[in-house]
């Protein structure tokens, strides 16, 4: 969805620059626009080579996405210092590359919360240990207990919402709240394509967390109790923006209150509600 909307924006920009007219610039709706009284361009003009241009743009975009992970990793040195203890949860490929890149020049320790019932943290720990990074695996219950000794928390995310909140792996909110309690900075790694113009209202939080099969949690229990136990096994959960200190994307680092700006650059206002219209 996000990529689709982003491409729509790029196409609109291409059209406007190609047709070189003064028709309402590709500006987001604003008070200024109301006053200037220019109508939105209806994109009706014939632009001859629009198709080739759009193809070029999509190719550039693909390239950008492919190197996104590397771009994020390159910023690792600025954020990880020697002898620091970093905490993370679950297995994020972005976080893995980030830490491995930093390990080339710095010595630090990593604590990985295993994130039951998927235990994806184990995989990350194995990979990090393979790169000779000193790693410790902890259970999810120990997150709060260990937080006092942690210098930074670095996590990945599935989506970054329009208000700066996250839709991240289940367990992230616990980590975030523990970090807030001990004033430990929480850094979220997310390429620009993870930004979504959606908000998640409180009522929809459970629905957006992608409930998955209760089997890994209950295992045999369901059979033994003949279905009297129900179980909720969310894959993702919502983390509010006040718990996040910094976002690192392939373009730059920015604070949660700046997310609206990134949003304005990536998506056109009219495209934000594609599903509803």
């Amino acid at each position: 969805h996000n990529t689709l909307k982003h491409i729509l924006k790029l196409v609109r920009e291409e059209y406007l620059s190609a047709s070189k007219t003064e028709e309402g610039e590709c500006q987001p709706e604003s008070l200024h626009k109301l006053i200037i009284n220019r109508e939105n361009s209806d994109y009706g003009k014939n632009v001859t080579d629009l198709r080739e241009r759009v193809f070029e743009i999509i190719e550039e975009l693909l390239l950008e996405f492919e190197v996104a992970c590397e771009e994020i990793s390159k910023q690792a040195i600025e954020h990880i210092h020697a002898n620091e203890i970093i905490m993370t949860i679950g297995h994020s490929r972005t976080v893995e590359k980030f830490l491995k890149f930093a390990a080339k020049n710095r010595k630090f320790q990593v604590i990985v919360a295993e994130s039951a019932p998927s235990y994806s943290g184990h995989k990350l720990a194995a990979n990090l240990a393979g790169s000779k990074i000193s790693t410790t695996v902890i259970t999810d219950d120990a997150i709060f207990a260990m937080m006092a000794r942690v210098n930074k928390v670095i996590i990945g995310t599935s989506a970054i919402l329009a208000d700066g909140g996250l839709n991240a792996i289940s367990g992230s909110r616990t980590v975030a709240m523990a970090a807030k309690h001990y004033s430990v900075p929480l850094i979220v790694l997310g390429a620009v394509y993870k930004l979504t113009p959606k908000f998640i209202p409180t009522g929809e939080q459970l629905a957006s967390s992608q409930l998955s099969s209760p089997d890994p949690v209950l295992r045999d229990l369901e059979g033994k109790t003949k279905g009297k136990i129900s179980c909720v096994n969310p894959l993702l959960e919502f983390v509010p923006s006040n718990l996040v200190t910094l976002f690192i994307s392939n373009l730059s680092g920015y604070s949660p209150s700046y997310v609206y700006r990134q949003m304005a650059e990536l998506y056109h206002r009219d495209d934000r509600q594609l599903e509803d219209s």
Binding site: E29, S30, L31, H32, N37, D163, G203, R261
Partner: protein
């Protein structure tokens, strides 16, 4: 309206018809345009400023008049720069046309806000409403007409809305202003309007808003403000004392009770602002204002 009614009367009659203060002010100023025999932009601006001062003396939300008139003034000056080559009376005609267009766009603002806000009211939700904002009313009415059941806790400050809510069959409980802390735990979110939005992202609203939002923060309840974009004002208060006295218009009370009309709620206490420009975080407000004035 007849061409010879004074702008002040146009303004007052719009207010009587329950049109929101900002739009009423712009309607009044449009009447100035119609009646003016000004030959230069300076003269016109002078005229508009004098009329705005008269409007501010009426018992209404002064901050809304300020923001609307500043916006209108900006509209005039921008329109004039674009039509520079024409002589002034032609200019005036064109401004009138554009002005009518401008006004009709603003009037649609409330509906857009209601649409934006819709997904935030869930079935069986409980909402605390403070202040008698028409934007809030129209949003809640819209959701109610969709058939969603929800319950509203209305503070005494918002009592004017009660009869409208009853007309739409919205379940409504009026609570005493001091009972806000008592009910806050049961409530899902707090809904406010705003008389004005400051550059900091904070809002100026009916007295009691600051208290309600502080209590909401304590209970981790989101505070939403529904406000039209023409209420954005270029003003950066740090504290209650920074509000100009003309906004306060302290009521004539017979005893020595301090009863200001409005208070300022800092942006840290507001979760989201629902405007016709979209859903904004408080930090996005100053960006919108810069876009306007630059």
């Amino acid at each position: 309206m007849p061409a010879d009614t004074s702008p002040l009367e146009v303004f007052k009659s719009s207010l009587d018809r329950e049109v929101t203060t900002g739009i009423a002010a712009i309607q009044g100023l449009m009447q100035v345009l119609r009646q003016s025999k000004a030959k230069t932009l300076q003269e016109l601006v002078e005229l508009l400023n004098t009329e705005t001062e008269k409007f501010k003396n009426v018992d209404c939300s002064v901050i809304a008049v300020t923001s609307a008139s500043e916006l209108f003034l900006r509209f005039i000056t921008l329109a004039h720069t674009q039509l520079e080559t024409q002589d002034f009376s032609n200019c005036l005609q064109l401004m009138l046309e554009r002005g009518t267009n401008f006004l009709s766009k603003l009037e649609k603002a409330r509906d857009k806000i209601a649409t934006n806000f819709q997904p935030y009211v869930q079935e069986g939700g409980k909402i605390l409403v403070h202040g008698s904002s028409k934007a809030v009313l129209s949003a809640l009415v819209k959701v109610a007409r969709l058939g969603r059941e929800f319950h509203v806790y209305l503070t005494r400050g918002g009592i004017k809305l009660k009869k409208h809510m009853d007309a739409e069959n919205i379940a409504c409980t009026v609570i005493d202003d001091m009972a806000v802390g008592y009910v806050m735990k049961k409530v899902d979110c707090v809904l406010l309007g705003a008389e004005g939005v400051c550059e900091s992202g904070g809002i100026v609203n009916q007295l009691g808003t600051l208290t309600v939002s502080i209590v909401a923060k304590q209970f981790n309840k989101p505070v939403y403000s529904l406000v039209e974009s023409f209420k954005f004002v270029r003003f950066y208060p740090l504290d209650q004392d920074d509000l100009p006295t003309e906004f306060q218009r302290v009521g004539e009370s017979s005893d020595d009770v301090l009863c200001p009309r409005v208070d300022y709620t800092p942006p840290a206490h507001i979760t989201l602002l629902f405007t016709d420009l979209g859903i904004l975080t408080p930090s996005a407000v100053s960006d919108e204002l810069i876009n306007l004035y630059l």
